[in-house]
Subunit: 180 residues, 2 copies
DNA sequence: GTCTATAATTAGATAGAC
DNA sequence: GTCTATCTAATTATAGAC
């Protein structure tokens, strides 16, 4: 609900209804609407980090970078709400944004930067992208078809949730970062 | 306000306060909150189409495609709210989304497709991207640093509104689509 | 631990003075 | 055309029964 309607637009009543529980229980378990929101962010980023822990990268540095991109695209396909959380929150410099960036996004950027620098240090085709560009491309472009699935269906007549689409899209993003 | 907080999250009272007018005037001039939202979408897409009318593309088909990308990136830099509108609305298949897609986004996709196909028909380096991928890349990646400017400042220490940043970012997106 | 009931606030829309 | 005042409904949070 936060991903669909943003923090202000999502109502705790609707959230409770969707969860088939009483609205008062949100206060009982989380304390406030904001604490519930933070718990959602915690959960969704934990899902992302778990994925990297579950499938530790192997092979050359270039292969590891490619695998990391693929993992991220597949995560974005299954969890489009992460992108929506970011876009909803990143418009204004709120305490919620600073909390989410410091806690989750900045570490993710550091990991991305390290992967890229190691792949760059290797012999092979040159990689013409900065860490900031790579990260922005990943968090901006990779989740786009999944976060706007309703638009993709109406405009392109495709369903981004199809496994075939996810594979094709991931290959596309990988090729943007690692040509050849 | 709609771009920052989404349709449900933006209140007509706050909008009226920001415009230094009375809240009742929104009903007087627009009729409803939804009509005000549509007027905002009308205005912002008119700004985009005006830009293409003001600077009609010239040169080879490939140069025209490149110029169109640059125009779009610069528009996204100056109007980050368009991207936010899209992400806010495209999560669910609402009447508002269908209205915006049919009225503005579908025509934009058709134009993009035609530009790409004409550039493809020309001799020159091959362009390995489908119309759908190009469009998704443009509407997803190009506006990302501008729509999440607060995050870019905190994470990267750069201000996406700087003219130098916009130029560099546009060159990056152009190179993604048109290598070489 | 889960519920009903409700307090306090805020929402979009409207009525009517001027 | 712009304002104040207000209506109805929805919001978050709380109180208290069980």
């Amino acid at each position: 609900m936060f991903a669909l309607h943003g923090f202000e637009g999502a109502s705790t009543r609707d959230i409770a209804r969707r969860a088939d529980v009483n609205q008062g229980l949100i206060t009982y378990y989380f304390g406030s609407k904001e604490a519930l929101w933070k718990a959602c962010v915690d959960q969704v980023f934990a899902r992302l980090f778990d994925r990297y822990v579950a499938a530790p990268p192997t092979g050359t540095q270039r292969e590891q970078l490619r695998a990391a991109i693929r993992t991220f695209v597949q995560f974005a396909a299954e969890n489009p709400e992460v992108h929506r959380f970011m876009i909803h929150e990143a418009g204004a410099n709120t305490p919620r944004l600073r909390w989410m960036l410091k806690r989750y996004v900045a570490p993710l950027f550091s990991l991305t930067r390290e992967l890229l620098e190691r792949a760059r240090a290797e012999r092979g085709p040159s990689i013409a992208i900065s860490p900031e560009q790579l990260f922005t491309l990943l968090v901006g472009a990779a989740p786009q078809p999944f976060a706007t699935a309703a638009a993709a269906r109406q405009l392109f007549g495709v369903d981004p949730r199809d496994a075939a689409f996810v594979d094709t899209w991931s290959a596309f993003v990988e090729r943007l970062v690692l040509p050849g």
